[in-house]
Symmetry: C2
Subunit: 163 residues, 2 copies
Amino acid sequence: MADHTADQEAWASALHSHGRRVTKQRLAVLAAVQHNPHSPAEGILAAARKDLPELTAQSVYVVLSDLTDLQMLRRFEPPHSPALYETRVGDNHHHAVCISCGRVEDVDCAVGHAPCLTPHWDEHSKPMTIQIADVLYQGICQDCQAKQQLPTQTQVTHEIGER
Amino acid sequence: MADHTADQEAWASALHSHGRRVTKQRLAVLAAVQHNPHSPAEGILAAARKDLPELTAQSVYVVLSDLTDLQMLRRFEPPHSPALYETRVGDNHHHAVCISCGRVEDVDCAVGHAPCLTPHWDEHSKPMTIQIADVLYQGICQDCQAKQQLPTQTQVTHEIGER
DNA sequence: GCACTTATTATGAGTGCTTCACAATAAGGC
DNA sequence: GCCTTATTGTGAAGCACTCATAATAAGTGC
């Protein structure tokens, strides 16, 4: 696995290069996102508080937004879910979400750089200059598929569900 | 353009076939979405109230959710924006949003049926059975591009902006 | 056409996620 | 170590949406 100290130093220099101060709150948030990819703000807060109990939810929101703007974090908003954050940035990868349990998996970008797809404009629309193409895959994960096979009486489908 | 009466009759029979009653509220919402594609619930409410002033916001939310579940409407959730609705369903088309003004354009599906893309799973992730691939294109529309050329002193960029 | 049953809508309050305004704190340059 | 200003904490507010319940009206049978 990655070396904690190395991560911290890399983050510190990245923060410096963006003119940001290196605070324990920012480092705690970055470490929490690193170790809990695809987590919502609330989950980041809980994880970061293990190292820094006095951290507040509002600080987490501020830090997450700022670091996302700086491209040090990436925000991802699945339908019917709060925003999720990850440290994997700059590779334009995509996401697959399970419509049954909400689990998120990374999917490599087929092309490897943005935009990875070129739109086919229909005749009535005005073309835009595309910068990014985000692909959201929706399906059923292996675990949920297995659960759906068994239950004849039990019927324990969707834990979070699509609502 | 489309014939209003024909639309109404088509919607009425579709509602019947789903076991729903044909109410003026549902027809007003459908007509409002038809004439204002990519509008949020609030916009649908405003449009529908021109025909049906006593319609309430809560009813619009209920009707939109129900019709979306029935696949008579499609819901689309751009980042930092409330959900948008459209009557174009069943063709798995995609969307392009302008990051400057928020304008939305339809983009035909590259392949024409869902899923239109097959993910390349990275070695650490557990593959899912994919049912839908939604592509979200983000870029700058022609109008905003034109605005960004001119202003040297004026600097009137982003009206809604990415925040 | 008229009453009746039940889906649908209106009313009003409430929830989750996120942001805002301002005061308290602390990072980094001198 | 001190000072300036970014950053964080505190408390409240906002938006989009949902929930619970009562009032209304669509569609059915007579």
